[in-house]
Amino acid sequence: MSGMVEKSGKAVWLIHFGLIIGIAIVCFPIYLAFIASSVTQAELVRPPMPLLPGDQLVENYTRALFSGVNAPVWKMLLNSMIMALGIAIGKIVISLLSAFAIVYFKFPLRGVFFWLIFMTLMLPVEVRIVPTYEVIAGFGMLNSYSGLILPLVASATATFLFRQFYMTVPDELAEAARVDGASPMRFFMDILLPMSRTNIAALFVILFIYGWNQYLWPLLMTTDPDMNTIVMGIRQMFPSGDDLADWPVIMATALLAMLPPVLVVVLMQNLFIKGLVDTEK
């Protein structure tokens, strides 16, 4: 660590100070949002807003959770949770299987399939939104969880991660399994899967956040307010026309919207970092 080189007390304190400033800048918007969600609308309408928390926390959060604007926030949180879990688990499951097939088998069209899957890395969903909307509508899957989840499961980042990982698994293990007469699926379930646990967990963190934070796709395909997810639903709370914005409730909703992914990141920090670094290789 380059810190070993200069170790005067003043320099170290300066660095700590600088980092604290950095953190303060990064956290300031959240702090303000928290304050705003704890005071009354009247205190916010005439700036400057108070800089210390108020006493309306319970009141505002209850209002947000149970009335919201088009749909109560608890419903939106639920929809987001289902969507995020569906995307994370769905992606992980199909990728585990595909990567296993690609790495451990030689079969016709293997190369073709590999490249087909590889190409999905090239196009995020934003580029194909209109026709994807029509495909989903054609299946009658608008306003459904499967419609929310499936188009976002289609890309290959997880497949590549597992492929990379399987490549590093020693050949001896597979050989031993074959010698023992174990079927490929036994090998997969008893040996490969347990070894992949850390990778699966790391990927879960990344994919959960990716799924939870989806915005454009849910915006387009949920026409029924009951299916709104929370990240896309916040914008609907903004007034259109001459209504006044209910800022405390909007801020409370924003904080609720970021809570689950932030918790996941903070509690599973090390896995998160590993997942980030690995998926970008």
Partner: protein, 293 residues
């Protein structure tokens, strides 16, 4: 890259790979193909009839000054977001790298903004800069600077840049920190003994060794700015004022779903497809090569 030991049989692998191939075919290739096909038509909004126009939609696009402006807007926006978020992240990483005690705590505090959706970040920053109630807008007014991003395009651009960069700082910070921590201590110490002070050491040793990470982050941040910032723009400015924050992906949405001009939207999707394809090729060909040595 091949495994030396593989299992026999072809039925099982085909079954295993089927779910992913199905999902990819139905939700990726089919819509992508549709986008290309539809770009040659002008449909009416209700989907009842459509006129074949061949390249007409593309001609319309490239003769539309607002579409061309959108390229410029996207480029400026991406560069600003990348520069802002990477510089702040680098500064923080340099500091975090120099301390031993407590770096874990600092890291915790700095990485969680990654989990905040761009759209939510947009809401937070909009609240701070709202011309009527925002505390930052009010403070700027107090010192005589009139803030109204609903009318002023430059201010709107800065606001979305700030909101988009804010969440990205964590991501870049982590990679920079990892990169810095991989710099061999011995090299630094040798330079220090030779009398080089911090900035000298940084520019001649650390920065070159950090360059693979930097290049990698450059590409990733640009792709992020292209696509994932849709939520920020939709929440704060809706592409305005006067389309000054309408980036390419926002225009695809605005023309297709708000303007009901599906032909133009499809043509724009095709253009984006080509642009992203190029970016991905660049990323894999040039960046990957530099990272793995």
């Amino acid at each position: 890259m091949e495994k030396r030991v593989t299992f026999r049989g072809w039925k099982l692998p085909l079954i295993l790979i089927l779910p992913q191939v199905l999902v990819t075919a139905v939700f990726f290739f089919w819509p992508a193909g549709q986008a290309i096909y539809q770009s040659a038509f002008i449909p009416d909004p209700f989907g009842l009839k459509s006129q074949f126009v061949g390249f007409g939609n593309f001609e319309y696009l490239f003769s539309d000054p607002y579409y061309l402006a959108s390229f410029k807007t996207t480029a400026i926006f991406s560069i600003l977001v990348t520069v802002v978020s990477m510089s702040v992240a680098l500064w923080l990483a340099l500091m975090a790298d120099r301390i031993i005690k407590g770096s874990g705590t600092y890291r915790t505090f700095l990485i969680w903004p990654y989990a905040v959706a761009p759209a939510v970040a947009g809401v937070l920053w909009l609240f701070m800069f709202n011309p009527s109630v925002g505390i930052v807008a009010w403070s700027l007014d107090q010192i005589g600077y009139d803030w109204n991003h609903k009318l002023n395009g430059g201010q709107a651009t800065w606001l979305v840049v700030l909101a988009s960069s804010w969440g990205r700082i964590s991501y870049n910070f982590l990679f920079f920190l990892a990169g810095l921590q991989a710099v061999p201590r011995s090299v630094i110490e040798a330079a220090a003994i030779d009398g080089a002070h911090f900035w000298r050491r940084f520019w001649t040793i650390v920065f070159p060794l950090l360059s693979p990470t930097t290049f990698f982050l450059l590409v990733v941040n640009i792709v992020y700015a292209f696509f994932e910032t849709f939520g920020v723009i939709h929440t704060i400015t809706s592409g305005g004022p006067q389309q000054s924050t309408t980036i390419l992906v926002y225009k695809v949405f605005a023309d297709g779903f708000v303007g009901q001009d599906l032909g133009s939207s499809a043509a724009q999707s095709v253009v984006l497809l080509v642009v992203v394809g190029l970016l991905t090729v660049i990323q894999f060909k040039f960046i990957e090569r530099r990272v793995h040595y």
